[in-house]
Symmetry: D3
Subunit: 323 residues, 6 copies
Amino acid sequence: MKGTQALEIEPEKNGSYRLGRQVIIDVIEQLCSSESRQVLSHRSDHDIPMPSVRTLSDIMDSLRSILFPGYFGMAELKIETMQYHVGSTLDSVFRLLSEQILRGMWFRETDCSSASESYCVERSQLLTLQFIQSLPNIRRLLSTDVQAAFDGDPAVDNQGEIIFCYPSIRALTNYRVAHELYKLGIPLIPRIITEIAHSETGIDIHPGAEIGEYFFMDHGTGIVIGETSIIGNHVRIYQGVTLGAKSFPLDGNGFPIKKIPRHPIVQDNVTIYSGATILGRIIIGHGSEIGGNVWVDHDVQPGSKIVQGKAEEKIFRGGGEGI
Amino acid sequence: MKGTQALEIEPEKNGSYRLGRQVIIDVIEQLCSSESRQVLSHRSDHDIPMPSVRTLSDIMDSLRSILFPGYFGMAELKIETMQYHVGSTLDSVFRLLSEQILRGMWFRETDCSSASESYCVERSQLLTLQFIQSLPNIRRLLSTDVQAAFDGDPAVDNQGEIIFCYPSIRALTNYRVAHELYKLGIPLIPRIITEIAHSETGIDIHPGAEIGEYFFMDHGTGIVIGETSIIGNHVRIYQGVTLGAKSFPLDGNGFPIKKIPRHPIVQDNVTIYSGATILGRIIIGHGSEIGGNVWVDHDVQPGSKIVQGKAEEKIFRGGGEGI
Amino acid sequence: MKGTQALEIEPEKNGSYRLGRQVIIDVIEQLCSSESRQVLSHRSDHDIPMPSVRTLSDIMDSLRSILFPGYFGMAELKIETMQYHVGSTLDSVFRLLSEQILRGMWFRETDCSSASESYCVERSQLLTLQFIQSLPNIRRLLSTDVQAAFDGDPAVDNQGEIIFCYPSIRALTNYRVAHELYKLGIPLIPRIITEIAHSETGIDIHPGAEIGEYFFMDHGTGIVIGETSIIGNHVRIYQGVTLGAKSFPLDGNGFPIKKIPRHPIVQDNVTIYSGATILGRIIIGHGSEIGGNVWVDHDVQPGSKIVQGKAEEKIFRGGGEGI
Amino acid sequence: MKGTQALEIEPEKNGSYRLGRQVIIDVIEQLCSSESRQVLSHRSDHDIPMPSVRTLSDIMDSLRSILFPGYFGMAELKIETMQYHVGSTLDSVFRLLSEQILRGMWFRETDCSSASESYCVERSQLLTLQFIQSLPNIRRLLSTDVQAAFDGDPAVDNQGEIIFCYPSIRALTNYRVAHELYKLGIPLIPRIITEIAHSETGIDIHPGAEIGEYFFMDHGTGIVIGETSIIGNHVRIYQGVTLGAKSFPLDGNGFPIKKIPRHPIVQDNVTIYSGATILGRIIIGHGSEIGGNVWVDHDVQPGSKIVQGKAEEKIFRGGGEGI
Amino acid sequence: MKGTQALEIEPEKNGSYRLGRQVIIDVIEQLCSSESRQVLSHRSDHDIPMPSVRTLSDIMDSLRSILFPGYFGMAELKIETMQYHVGSTLDSVFRLLSEQILRGMWFRETDCSSASESYCVERSQLLTLQFIQSLPNIRRLLSTDVQAAFDGDPAVDNQGEIIFCYPSIRALTNYRVAHELYKLGIPLIPRIITEIAHSETGIDIHPGAEIGEYFFMDHGTGIVIGETSIIGNHVRIYQGVTLGAKSFPLDGNGFPIKKIPRHPIVQDNVTIYSGATILGRIIIGHGSEIGGNVWVDHDVQPGSKIVQGKAEEKIFRGGGEGI
Amino acid sequence: MKGTQALEIEPEKNGSYRLGRQVIIDVIEQLCSSESRQVLSHRSDHDIPMPSVRTLSDIMDSLRSILFPGYFGMAELKIETMQYHVGSTLDSVFRLLSEQILRGMWFRETDCSSASESYCVERSQLLTLQFIQSLPNIRRLLSTDVQAAFDGDPAVDNQGEIIFCYPSIRALTNYRVAHELYKLGIPLIPRIITEIAHSETGIDIHPGAEIGEYFFMDHGTGIVIGETSIIGNHVRIYQGVTLGAKSFPLDGNGFPIKKIPRHPIVQDNVTIYSGATILGRIIIGHGSEIGGNVWVDHDVQPGSKIVQGKAEEKIFRGGGEGI
């Protein structure tokens, strides 16, 4: 029954206010009843709080300032003193990120509940160190992505503009960081990091995807790259492109079987134009071009070109009738 | 005439600065002239300020913390003390939301200008109480949406990850709250609430749409669900899907007639793949599947499957010529 | 070699922590080495900091409050005192924006490095004044955009709702401001301003595009309007529409030649439905309608109607097999 | 009985945590019981909130920026555009201060409970306007105070330093504003404003005191000027000076009779050195000097000089024995 | 040798900047050398951070809102829903304060280093619970302090003004909270809490002092109440009063012996006027009055009245000669 | 004439509001008239803004974190990575402080108006570097002050508590920094820095004073140390002590002659008890003790002990009559 029908309060002068408070108290009771709360409340046997989206967003800002020195948050950086800024920022990242990873491990309780608490703390720090070791390589990869954007976009003046403004680089920075964390088996945190970029750029890359060098996403809004996608080098895709799953097998209970390969493999030097939808564990052969708005669910030979079926074209007949 | 041509200031040393101030003063005068300001300024006979997008965003954060206890903003929540946190948050929501609803009523002045001021205040409080009574049902509906996401996405580990990260749940929480406010006839506020989610997730659901249980939007960016859409239970749609109006009749003055049914009816158990466009007051029969990127503007029988026309496929011939 | 393989740290009690610090120190050294940092660091010979995205965002908020008096940030504005609020806000904008323009000029060092420092300061102030002179015209254009939204959307109650909530107006305000700055030859700043709107609305309009009066983008997410696009008056486009480049000629070194006309010309009274992709320096003749999801890469005669090729329709055969 | 004795919780592993929650719940109940809460809770029949110390502090910052243009909060103010900044700030002050005055009137419920609500609103606005009319005179008085500080302190370079740094000017600005509000009969607000300065500077001037022109308080910490004090022109006092009440008559119920004259009258050209205590409704005649640390509770003839009784002086005999 | 002499940098155009960086690098090295840092750096073997002054300040704000419902931070509190606000605030205080107590225990490492980590956590929670049990009594004591202020100050209108504005109540709230924590043996935290009030009010009460009911400090700035002071009921003191130690015995190494009784005992119904200095473990007998600015270092019989020695009074002889 | 008498507005329903706006407009005009604004407005021929108190407060926080590593703002600092944190903080201090020093130089226009702009910038950077070179010595001095507090206060547990909580150390840190800047001839900035500490602690030390090693101020509120004071080593003073000027010679125009020695010289090992007032260019010989509340304006031989004249003592005679 809908709440809007049940309420009997009349907007009379006397008593309505106190009655109003009673309504609130009743709803509080309902919301705290065990039936209502059980589905959507976060129950735990421990006191480790949830990961903090705000802190992870700050960590990404710090990493961005380390990866692209001088562009983000380190005003007037000089080579002579760069090490101090990079060093203090990285040391803070170590502390903050290992705490978030610890929270992520407690969130998926299988990671921690059977072990000692201090083992979990040490493990989270070790994983963070391993991630930190991958930063030089992440920077190297991102420098190829910046180059690819510069080569692929006639609208841009210089590489600095790409680093500073382009959603593609922002989303790839989050993705490449998240992907390293994903490979280390860290739960929840990688997904939060890519969702932060998703919200900012409209580009949704699952941290599990594998993406090669020199990757460029022009404009970017609406791009989806699924968990088991594999993308080669020198690939370029445009806004609204989906690399998705076509279907997924169910287990005996009718639930989808998790984590099996179900997204496309896109080989080197492929370009996919805006709005194209590529579905299933298919291979888009190297050097192919996929035209805008097409739907592809089968393998494409290397060097192919796929375009949309011919549209009908008609003379307009006017009026408010629309299309 | 463009301002860039009119300016005669030379970057000379003497006098240019004072001249610059004069330019500013002239523009202030132009912007405050009655002709210039009349179209875009908010004129009112009263002192009630505009609704605050920031406050409504905070209210949504509070409601999210109530609906999903332990996930958002109530760190280390325990069952024994849950009632205090839910209670104090809900009491604050009552106060803040009734104020915003009052502002919304004054914004559309027809709601308040003919009545006494205190009637408006009482009415806004009554409407808020009616909304609050719907919260247990909103939570119940959202729990079905979480279940639908879990059943429909092989990439996810556990329900907590869905609640915490998924744009679908974030957008549906705003929508389901806004829809209750919309049904109560409250102006402006519901639309602001769904636009907040639109900006965060790229999912644009009009608060007037009716959406059943177990609804899931995978990835979500670019989804549009129009004002008079009706969606059944167990429906799943992907990124970039539009449920839109095909055309709309004009009144005698050439203006669109407002609020008449003009968006699709999607029956139970329908799946609509990425980028599909469904237009007009048509019915997509239960159990149908609509393929990616197709354009549908006529009724679809139950159990149908619609796919895009065959794309042309060509061998690539190299060069900078492009597609 | 991946960092995750190289790390030899064992989670033992003794020494691991100090070893961990050594890992961090090593990575700092790598990141500060000249090979690693050279590609992605911002090198400059001067001390002028990068433009500030946050300040530019604040400037846009100030301009919005000036262009739409009473809607944003000037609570309870009255006609009698409007000039003070508009005046003080505009004077602050002059100061803040000329500073940002100066930073933009130093960013693209060709603008400043060969001139004296004080010349650059004066030039940035002059450019800001020229921009300020265009504000009355920007407001006039935006008033036509609001009118177009009101005429074109049956879901809206009143113009105030459009100004306050619609992503189309938010994106166009940033675009129309950025376009004036672009015409003045200011580097970087215009693009940052349109990218701010891109992130908030999912609408990506390049500041170089030329857009006429009475422009309306319904829903908006995923719209892309390229740098050399030309759009007439009374044009309406829907979510997911691309006005893009089809291909671009390379120079002798294999790099794209910058800034040549390569995006569509859309004449007056054209409507383009959701997801359509219009590519290349083609002309969409006045009064045409482009249907959803189509791909157009050739001229369209005035008064034409383009729709997608007929989709196949099949009866559904059940199962988990998918589409 | 002290809580520290009553608690029986043992820090055992099992059950202690839940028991802890029970302790909290019991204390909540006690604190909400009618006996406990009645003395110190703010009970009211209305919904008008308490005045906001933070808002009043912001109002004082705004007034400071108006009274001393260019020193506080209006960077790079120019004469040509000064009116816009002063105007918009003052218009905001009108709105914010009249709201706070309204809250103050509701706090002392005798001001509002017997009248209509809209009468109270109008009255608060009228009082605010009357206060605003006194601003030019407040500025004139403060300019004499700045001059007095410059004439009386050899440590200062220029008047700007006094305006920008001196606690005397900060405290007098708050006092002179609060005194105007006090004269208008506004409850609570004047006292909050002088207590803000008390906390910042250690100078405690009651808003009821009357203080002439050219007043200077050097260093200032610990100065107390009581409610019915009257201070002439060209008076200078040092840190730690008290102008206090010596005793006060009680009424029939043993309570102090409020508001009767009980603090000193200090005539023109008097100087009072650090730590002096002047008590009771006495007159310090013009041109007198009161030495440091003295205690005066009787009239002092014009032109007098009061110094402390001769201190004993002894030869020190060493050791940890102290004085 | 002073740094100002050592520097050889000339403000020449070439090289000075790089030389400047070298200066900074040298100073960094000096500051990190083991000799320089060892005295003033916080060395620890653990990772528990220092207590947070900001968090403790927030905790005091929360406790103030609980102790004085409706005055601070719980706008428009109603009796019907008071329990939710008090409950959620107190539950947060439990969590935040036990964390700060834990940090305090680690700061004085003797408290924790020899025990297991989880013992420390449990102990900090137990101590917090014991503190929470004392809150009803703290409120009761504060209600007597408010009454004493009302009875003792003719300048005040109503009790609400005292609670909301008076430094005496603000300082006593922090003191009474800190004193309970002090009695529980908690290190560091109590002192931080009273120093927060010291900074805000100029009133310095050591958390170790014992203070009875109905205590009032008028104006308050400069009051000092030492660690082992004992104050009875119905005592009133004015600004600048010191209850201090006269001297303290040294141990064999010449260091002061800590924590022995060395401050005054002030019995019931004593009044001490502004600037008086009471030193040593003496007794001020009940009902006595100590006049302003006097220095007392011996026992005072009950019912005594102490006033300052007669000041000399002279006729002023003019000129700039001063006093 | 007072504004409160001039206002004729009646709280009538019609027209009063518009009339109210007119009042505001009139006051704006008065406040912007050249007669009114000229005394208190900051006039300048340049665009360099005033120094920022907030930025200088942040700089002091940064310096505190450098001088006392691990106590303020560098959580969980480790020796291995200390150099990064100290280094990045110091590099930021260099940038921020040289900007503030530049602003201070422009404030006292004699410093900059006759030189070239870039000379001023270089000079401000040079002065900042010279200040930075003095930091190791400032730390050394502060370590003696911490030791003096530990030796002199039986109420303290450990040195960490002194560094973290004691107003004496906070005020001395600001003073010792400000004194170095004062010695470099930098205008305004040193005074702002000591006034920040004055507001926080009630301790007012002029940056020009010279203070030796091992200085301790117990409690501190109300202490004043004048510009030309000279204080030796191992001096201890208590709350409310003044080291002031007794009188100052006037120049031919009747203005005080600035900057001549006029405050006391306090030699080594002197103790001054609470509330004592020491005035004029006198010498307090080494090893002396000055008792509480005394007034000293003549030289004191080494090893002397000064105490207050004997107070009268009377039996109390009851009643509301007071003292």
